[in-house]
């Protein structure tokens, strides 16, 4: 919506609405996860779905991620369209073989004789002192390994459209929702993610980044929570006459290189902001794509991410390592002539 008209919804509501619609339309869609039935998802990812669809289609599962996510792979190969939830992305290590050696590779290893139409939903992100085993985004970890489409919505509007596309997609999609954006009662979201959301279904194709704010002086490439932190920084800098363009990647695989390049050609300055670990990840990828495609476009570049340490617990420590809008502001200023 180009303005705030229409029904406002939280990100979780929008996401759940897409799931419900697809489930109504297609009996082959079902949802498996821990605490997704009676609880409605620890982060509201299935809120209200049990009432409409019952325990058969909104399935609580044993705390056996390898077994039930692998079962989703098997059901998907049999032609169903399961959605499996990994409660926190930080738990990927207990089921990664199913995710990357089976779900992600079976299509290729079979010469596309077989496909795996499933969605893995998973909660990501920090900012609430959940420490090293419950606060990561792992964006780079998933985007690095081929065979998975990787989706990271930042608004309710995007969350719904991307979820419709994810469920309809014939390939495995990893759908990473940031806890801080969901609009959960006990974890207040910033203002941005709650947007106008049409009631009818719509899709947002993968690989189309979204320019969340247009600007002429510097390009900020980011995703998830940090879209909103970047917009905050941009609003502050506008007062100082620095005109910031904020690109929300929305999907990491596929990556919308074209939109990034176009923006950088305009601004000549690039700040990449990521909530994942700094090295061997997203910031390096975006910068390299630009340098490779347009060796002379960049006059200044900054990368901002978790400084290669696990996520600490205490607030001053966590605040130190997760970039906030002040950090983004500083990074942007550094790129200015």
């Amino acid at each position: 919506m180009s303005d705030d008209e229409g029904r406002q919804a939280t990100m979780s509501t929008a996401m759940v609405e897409a799931i419900a619609t697809e489930m109504r339309d297609n009996d082959e869609v079902f949802y498996m996860g821990e605490d997704v039935a009676d609880y409605g998802g620890i982060f509201d990812s299935t809120d209200g779905l049990l009432e409409e669809f019952g325990h058969d289609r909104i399935m609580d599962v044993p705390i056996s991620e390898t077994a039930y996510i692998g079962a989703a792979v098997g059901a998907a190969q049999a032609g169903m369209r399961p959605i499996a939830e990994l409660m926190f992305v930080d738990f990927f290590g207990v089921c990664m073989d199913q995710l990357y050696n089976q779900m992600a590779k079976n299509t290729y290893m079979s010469g596309a004789n077989v496909n795996v139409p499933m969605v893995l939903t998973t909660a990501v992100g920090g900012t609430y002192s959940d420490a090293a085993q419950h606060s990561q985004t792992l964006y780079g970890t998933f985007a690095h390994l081929p065979g998975m489409k990787v989706v990271v919505p930042s608004t309710a509007y995007d969350a719904k459209g991307l979820m419709h596309n994810a469920i309809r997609d014939d390939d495995p999609v990893v759908y990473m929702f940031h806890k801080r954006l969901m609009g959960i009662g006990w974890m207040p979201a910033p203002d941005g993610p709650k947007t106008a959301v049409p009631e009818e279904p719509y899709t947002i194709p993968f690989g189309q980044a979204d320019i969340k704010r247009e600007g002429a002086d510097v390009t900020v490439v980011t995703l998830g929570l940090h879209v909103h932190r970047a917009l905050e920084a941009a609003a502050k800098l506008a007062d100082d006459g620095i005109d910031v363009e904020v690109i929300d990647l929305r999907t990491l695989v596929p990556l919308d290189e074209a939109t990034i390049l176009e923006s950088v050609q305009k601004t000549g300055r690039l700040v990449v902001v990521d909530e994942d670990y700094r090295s061997f990840g997203l910031t390096g990828e975006v910068i390299s794509r630009v340098v490779e495609a347009e060796p002379d476009a960049l006059e200044a570049v900054e990368r901002l991410a978790i400084p290669d340490v696990p996520l600490p617990y205490a607030r001053p420590l966590e605040n130190r390592v997760i970039p906030d809008s002040d950090d983004i502001e500083d990074a942007i200023r550094k790129t200015q002539p």
């Binding site: 039930y68 692998g70 989703a72 690989g207």
Partner: protein
């Protein structure tokens, strides 16, 4: 011999002699170019090769009860199971030779055979075929279909989380799935007593409220009968079964395995126990005489020779084909017209 009919005995025999001859022929082909100096990158068959001579009874005896609608997942040693499940022999062979017309267009190789026509798949990671088999069974249950799923694994895999978690999930929902442990005593160089307690994989069932059955001699008829019960139980909605079948490893773990860790007496013993001869005796008793068996064998051998011949004639894939098939769909996930409603086109843009 209970329930098994002569037709079924004959059909198992056919699968088993096909599989045995297949492995012997692949061994020949594989070693060509790798003799005298074994170089894994030389010769007509690329990569690793795990052959299953001595395992045939476990495949034939179980798959005899399955239709194309039933799902089977196999581990790194899959050929005999694929054959018993009815996987297209020519395209499977072409895949093993790395050819364009192979089941996976040359992308998968011998540990990654997928034939959706008969719902066969495999994976080279220990026990990771179990969860997808449970998933196929779950799909059958959800769709109210009577198909079942079978997950094969080695006795070395009975201590892997993926298998153990699958037992609980399958038992919890009484899913129509059968786990078949092919117990050949060895996990590469590790004798089963060195790595698992108890050694009999079927005993794992006890901790998961499901029946476990051990067939401790690789007798296809005995496997057939145990599987009749297990598959029947699954089809009737009465839940999973864990079977452990004693088989034999007549060859090295993979081709080129020097087996220096293996006592000669053990190798000897595994050669002597021949499930195929054993089944021949059952056939004899059922009135299928050596002449008839000879015909079955000859047909089987011809089919195998044909498949190998055909496969070797197939073209290799074009190098650039390597860049295709990561996704079955365009990366955008959009195949048809963009169903985005009009006003949503600019929707995200300005928040």
């Amino acid at each position: 011999m209970g329930t098994v009919t002569t037709t079924q005995l004959r059909s198992m025999y056919e699968d088993m002699v096909t599989a045995r001859y297949y492995e012997e022929r692949l061994q020949e082909e594989y070693m060509e170019g790798k003799t005298p100096g074994f170089d894994i990158s030389a010769g007509p068959i690329p990569g690793e090769l795990h052959l299953a001579a001595g395992h045939e009874a476990a495949a034939a005896g179980v798959c005899a009860h399955l239709t194309d609608e039933d799902t089977v997942t196999a581990p790194h040693r899959p050929h005999h199971i694929a054959i018993a499940k009815g996987v297209d022999l020519k395209r499977m062979t072409a895949e093993i030779f790395g050819r364009e017309t192979g089941l996976s267009a040359g992308k998968g190789g011998h540990m990654h055979l997928f034939d959706p026509d008969v719902n066969f798949a495999c994976s080279g990671i220990i026990a990771q075929g179990c969860p997808p088999a449970v998933g196929a069974a779950l799909a059958a249950m959800k769709r109210n279909e009577s198909s079942v799923a079978v997950a094969y694994l080695g006795e070395g895999a009975i201590s892997q989380g993926a298998f153990l978690e699958s037992l609980n999930l399958a038992s919890l929902h009484d899913l129509p799935v059968i786990f078949v442990v092919e117990d050949n005593d060895w996990a590469i160089s590790m004798p089963k007593g060195r790595i698992s307690v108890p050694q009999d994989g079927s005993k794992r069932a006890a901790g998961f409220d499901m029946p476990g059955v051990r067939i401790d001699h690789d007798d296809a008829t005995a496997v057939y009968e145990a599987a009749a019960e297990a598959v029947g139980r699954a089809r009737d909605g009465n839940g999973p079964t864990l079977m452990s079948v004693q088989v034999h490893r007549r060859m090295g773990h993979f081709m080129g395995d020097p087996e220096t860790y293996r006592p000669e007496a053990d190798q000897q013993r595994h050669q002597e126990r021949d499930s195929i001869e054993r089944l021949a005796a059952d056939l004899e008793a059922a009135g299928v005489d050596e002449d008839e068996r000879e015909t079955i064998r000859e047909d089987a051998h011809a089919r195998v020779d044909d498949a190998i011949e055909w496969a070797k004639d197939q073209p290799e894939p074009e190098p650039d084909a390597a860049l295709e098939d990561v996704f079955s769909n365009p990366p955008s996930g959009v195949t048809d017209e963009d169903p985005t409603p009009e006003f949503a086109g600019n929707g995200g843009a300005d928040r």
